[in-house]
């Protein structure tokens, strides 16, 4: 039986009006309709037009007139006091001033829900921007009344990785459920009643961040991160204290982190290593003390097989699969008009991403319909020092980039967008997402694209089949171009977009997370795959 989710809604608006904003009404009504949510409405003054739902608790005092509103500071104190009497899972505020006060209250961090329209214009003054950043950073979620506002917040406040959600005037039940799951993930059955100390060790944690965010919100887990500088080197010395503290260690990437933790594993400790792809081409996995590894996670069937063959000392049943994931609530956003004519490629380095094949497809498409164009969101090769030192890579990119500027059919049709974490936002203008790599384990880019509603076009790199929806696989450049040309018809595109979304819904973070939670305490079925 799931515990009750306790939500406090403070209805104080910036103008201290007695009237409850329609948006608050619908939100309170929505959450009050959930059996497992207890809503407390905190307000002053009387709003005769709004009948608080029977299931909701209200603290409002009708005898107080508008002028009797307490000052913001004491209002914040009231809320903190209320929170002290029965800790809320989330506190929703509509007033920026109040949000600012609460953001500075450490106990509220991560539980604050901020109504984005209340945020002031942060472009005018740096001081205002700093305050807005502190509010957004302290928030568990920022609710936006439009996708545009959501985008503006994400663009203008890149420091904040806080979850943003589009929250319509009449939010559907699914949105409410999703928000609750984000703020307080349901602990999987296997974790109930436990108290696990989990250390995640590795460099570049971008592929596991979503999982970590959810783990961190579980009462059953205490999470600490041992961040390594590179695949080969820790930051400073390896953290012995953390190693001794942990019940479970997750090594993200099978690098020197896995080698060290496998050699220093303490008795009774559980060691989980995740290997993506390229590590197997290095010497590091072969230096891992395989006996110490309880579970080695691969992200696709192909690399499960490769690892079993390469690391023969590791019992095959310990090599399991958990797929990559994408957070649907982040990627599901409306597309911009005309997106169906835009192809997108995320990441063009190193050369095995095969930008040249993407150009082949684009040329083929534009021979028949020159409305199509390609956007590439990536670091530029010359910006990556180690890559630019490799003569092969340099030659390859020089020739491909020369082709971009010299091919008449590509003129003005290829745009390089800056690398950044705002992929979900960027995908709003992308109708088709390309995957042209020579080799991947489980490329996240097409997954994110399809989850956003872009149609996937995946050239058949080894292992791609079985990962993505069948319809997204194209045997060669010509077929890929044919498929893309069909998307010029908006109806066709819309239907393929829906199919793509449906085809990857099992990779949603919410669906993949239980596998991660489970593997923390028990061995996974080696053949299990979503």
């Amino acid at each position: 039986m799931a515990s009750v989710f306790r939500l406090l809604v403070d209805a104080t608006t910036e103008d201290r009006s007695d009237a409850t904003p329609p948006w608050v009404r619908s939100t309170v009504e929505l959450f009050s309709s959930f059996d497992d949510v207890e809503v407390t409405l905190h307000s002053h003054g009387d709003d005769a037009d709004f009948t608080v739902p029977a299931h909701a608790v209200t603290t409002r005092d009708p005898s107080l007139a508008q002028n009797d509103y307490p000052e913001l500071e004491s209002l914040a104190d009231e809320i903190v006091e209320l929170d002290g009497t029965g800790r809320f899972d989330a506190v929703l505020v509509l007033s920026y001033g109040l949000a600012l006060d609460l953001a500075n209250t450490a106990s509220m961090c991560g539980r604050l829900l901020v109504w984005a329209p209340c945020l002031p214009d942060w472009s005018s003054a740096e001081a205002v921007r700093r305050d807005v950043i502190s509010v957004v950073s302290a928030a568990g979620c920022v609710l936006c009344d439009s996708e545009d506002l959501r985008s503006r917040i994400e663009y203008a406040i890149p420091e904040s990785r806080t979850l943003t959600l589009y929250w319509p005037p009449e939010p559907p039940e699914s949105d409410g459920r999703r928000l609750i799951r984000r703020l307080r993930p349901e602990p999987p059955e296997v974790l109930r009643g436990r108290k696990l100390r989990v250390v995640v060790a590795g460099y570049d944690l971008k592929f596991i961040n979503g999982i970590l965010r959810k783990l961190a919100l579980l009462d059953e887990c205490e999470l600490r991160v041992d961040e390594w500088a590179t695949l080969q080197t820790p930051r400073g010395k390896p953290n012995v204290a953390l190693k001794n503290w942990a019940d479970v260690v997750i090594c993200e990437w099978c690098g020197a982190n896995a080698v060290w933790y496998s050699r220093h594993k303490r008795r009774g400790q559980r060691l989980i290593v995740r290997l993506h792809r390229f590590e197997i081409t290095t010497a590091l996995p072969y230096a891992v003390e395989l006996d110490a590894v309880d579970q080695l996670i691969t992200v696709c069937p192909k690399y499960q097989q490769v690892v079993r063959e390469e690391l023969a000392g590791l019992p095959t049943e310990r090599v399991v699969m958990i797929p990559n994931y994408a957070d649907a609530s982040t990627f599901e956003r409306g597309k911009l008009p005309g997106a169906h004519l835009h192809m997108g490629m995320i990441g063009m380095i190193p050369k095995l991403k095969r930008l040249d094949l993407a150009l082949d497809i684009l040329e083929e498409v534009r021979r028949r319909d020159d409305r199509f164009c390609l956007f590439v969101k990536s670091r530029f090769p010359s910006e990556v020092d180690w890559l630019w030192k490799l003569p092969d890579e340099r030659r390859y990119f020089r020739s491909v980039l020369r082709r971009v500027q010299s091919s008449p059919s590509l003129e003005g049709a290829v745009t390089f967008d800056p690398f950044g974490w705002d992929v979900a936002n960027w995908l709003r203008k992308i109708g088709t997402v390309l995957s042209t790599s020579d080799a991947e384990a489980f490329q996240v880019a097409p997954l994110e694209g399809m989850m956003s509603g872009s149609v996937g076009v995946v050239l058949p790199w080894d292992g791609a089949d079985g990962l993505y929806p069948e319809v997204s696989l194209a045997p060669d450049v010509r077929h890929a171009a044919e498929r893309i040309l069909e998307l010029a018809d908006l109806d066709v595109w819309a239907s393929r977009s829906r199919a793509a979304k449906k085809g990857v819904e099992h990779y949603d973070l919410d669906r993949v997370f239980p596998s991660w939670a489970g593997i923390l305490v028990e061995d996974r079925d080696p053949d299990a795959w979503p």
Partner: protein, 517 residues
């Protein structure tokens, strides 16, 4: 089989050239790497500090601290990527960066179709989001055109103006600033329905002038363009003809009081260069008039005049100037404009708006023609520039030039000074022949424009200039046209004043004197 790579004429094949280029680039990269390593090596930095420190007592005083910092930072590789990385644009747009100009050049932020269409008539440098900034610093176009159609689906600047691509807007604003600093006019061309691209008004408001095709629905005539020219409403003005009150020549859209003056000034200059003679201002100026117009523009335009519907205080002066052929800027409501024009004596010649007049921008071709016209109205300057070059004068890059104005005995000092102040972009200096003139100027100027005696050698070379097509050209016309065109300008010194203006490159190896008559 190497000989197969050699073509029949003995020319290297494309493949060979590619290989050579690749090798050369590899070599450059290696040298850059070595340079980087050298520059960041401790021995180089130590030696450099010692040499610089020993050059002066102050350097010597600082030396111990520098050496201590060097010691503390030993082993580090500061700014190691400074030479390792190159801007993306160098790879993507090197053709734009290395080729020679071919006639009038336009920097273009536009749809691919427009790039192609204008490319047929002009030397076009397309500016794409990923390389616009690098290319902008490397070219000196005559004009930069930003077309709203660039933001439409299927275009590189797609989603410009939307929240998801706020970065694009920033890129464009930076771009406008880059060209603005170099006095290169930026024109915003509205070709898309306004309601679909209204957010672009944030960009258009920063441009020097805005062109709206009147076939485009919804572009507001009054708001929210903060500054614009509706070229679609251009109408010809016949000499001595009664003007149609409802058909203004140029439409200067509302001018916001807090807007800086420079765009308006440059707009007027652009209009002048485009051949316009009368500007219509729809009456939104009154609030700002006292603070902006009277202080800056009015004082600048001693050789032109403004009139407003509220005061008409300049009308008489306008008329007087019309009589002397000075262009007039009329800030009147259309209805009043008619009355105003009737006041013009029949024998006064209002200049033909021959350049752009009557052109309707209903096609790309027409747009191209207007842009060409804008350029060609500078033929005087172009010819002068050519003349200079034929004398072997290196006219240099326009941004390096200052302006020298020679003022001789008999000149109308006030008018000359007003003309000099009219251009606020280039540094100016005044050259005089004698001390008396210098004193008179110093008393009048009350500004920081330097005055110096003209050296003898500065009059040793000159270009004669007469232009039958434009017989009465004034110092101010030339100055403003010069600024718009980015070329040097000169005056014929017509009338009682004896002034001559010339571009001065630094150092100033030459000067031009244009004889009267």
């Amino acid at each position: 089989m190497g000989h197969r790579m050699q073509s029949e004429r003995g020319q290297p094949s494309l493949q060979q050239l590619r290989e050579q280029l690749g090798e050369a680039e590899d070599r450059v990269w290696e040298l850059e790497t070595k340079l980087r390593e050298t520059l960041h090596s401790t021995s180089y930095r130590l030696g450099r500090n010692l040499v610089l420190g020993a050059k002066s007592p102050r350097g010597l005083w600082r030396l111990p601290a520098q050496l201590w910092r060097l010691y503390q930072g030993r082993g580090t590789r500061e700014a190691a990527t400074e030479y390792a990385t190159r801007p993306a644009g160098l790879f993507l747009n090197y053709r734009s960066l290395v080729r020679e100009r071919e006639g009038p050049q336009i920097g273009l932020v536009a749809s691919r179709q427009t790039v192609r269409s204008l490319g047929a008539a002009f030397d076009v440098v397309p500016l794409w989001p990923h390389d616009a900034n690098e290319v902008a610093h490397a070219i000196s176009p005559d004009v930069v055109v930003i077309e709203s159609g660039a933001s439409m689906p299927g275009q590189a600047w797609s989603a410009l103006g939307t929240a998801i691509e706020a970065g694009l807007e920033e890129t464009l604003v930076d771009l406008i600033a880059v060209f603005g600093r170099r006095s290169i006019p930026v024109l915003f061309w509205w070709t898309t329905p306004f309601d679909r691209t209204a957010d672009l008004s944030r960009v258009s408001g920063r441009c020097d002038f805005v062109v709206a095709d009147d076939s485009v629905p919804g572009v507001p005539k009054a708001t929210p363009l903060s500054l614009g020219v509706d070229l679609a409403q251009l109408q010809p003005v016949r000499p001595s003809a009664r003007r149609d009150a409802t058909a203004p020549v140029l439409h200067l859209s509302p001018y916001e009081p807090d807007q800086r003056v420079a765009p308006a000034t440059r707009l007027v200059e652009a209009a002048l260069a485009a051949g316009a003679r009368i500007l219509y201002e729809p009456g939104h100026l009154h609030a700002a008039e006292e603070t902006l117009w009277s202080r800056d523009v009015q004082s600048c335009y001693q050789s032109a005049a403004w009139t407003t519907p509220t005061t008409n205080r300049l009308s008489h002066r306008c008329l007087a100037m019309l009589g002397s052929g000075v262009p007039v800027f009329a800030c009147k409501e259309p209805a009043e404009f008619g009355e105003f024009v009737t006041e013009v004596p029949a024998d006064v010649s209002i200049h033909d708006a021959e350049a752009c007049a009557g052109k309707r921008l209903d096609s790309l071709g027409a747009m191209a023609e207007v842009l060409r016209t804008i350029h060609l109205t500078g033929t005087v300057q172009n010819r002068l520039l050519a003349g200079l070059r034929s004398l072997g004068v290196d006219t240099g890059p326009s941004e390096d030039r200052g302006l020298g104005v020679s003022i001789r005995a008999g000149a109308d000092i006030e008018q000359a000074v007003g003309s000099i102040k009219a251009q606020s972009i280039r540094p100016a200096e005044i050259l005089v022949d004698d001390a008396d003139m210098r004193d008179r100027l110093s008393a009048t100027l009350n500004s920081d424009i330097p005055v110096r005696p003209r050296a003898l050698g500065e009059s040793s070379r000159h270009v004669l200039w007469r232009d039958k097509a434009w017989p009465k050209t004034y110092l101010h016309d030339l100055l403003v046209a010069s600024e718009v065109m980015g070329t040097d300008c000169f005056s014929d010194g017509d009338g009682p004043e004896m002034t001559g203006a010339f571009g001065t490159a630094a150092p100033k190896p030459w000067w031009i004197e244009v004889p009267v008559g």
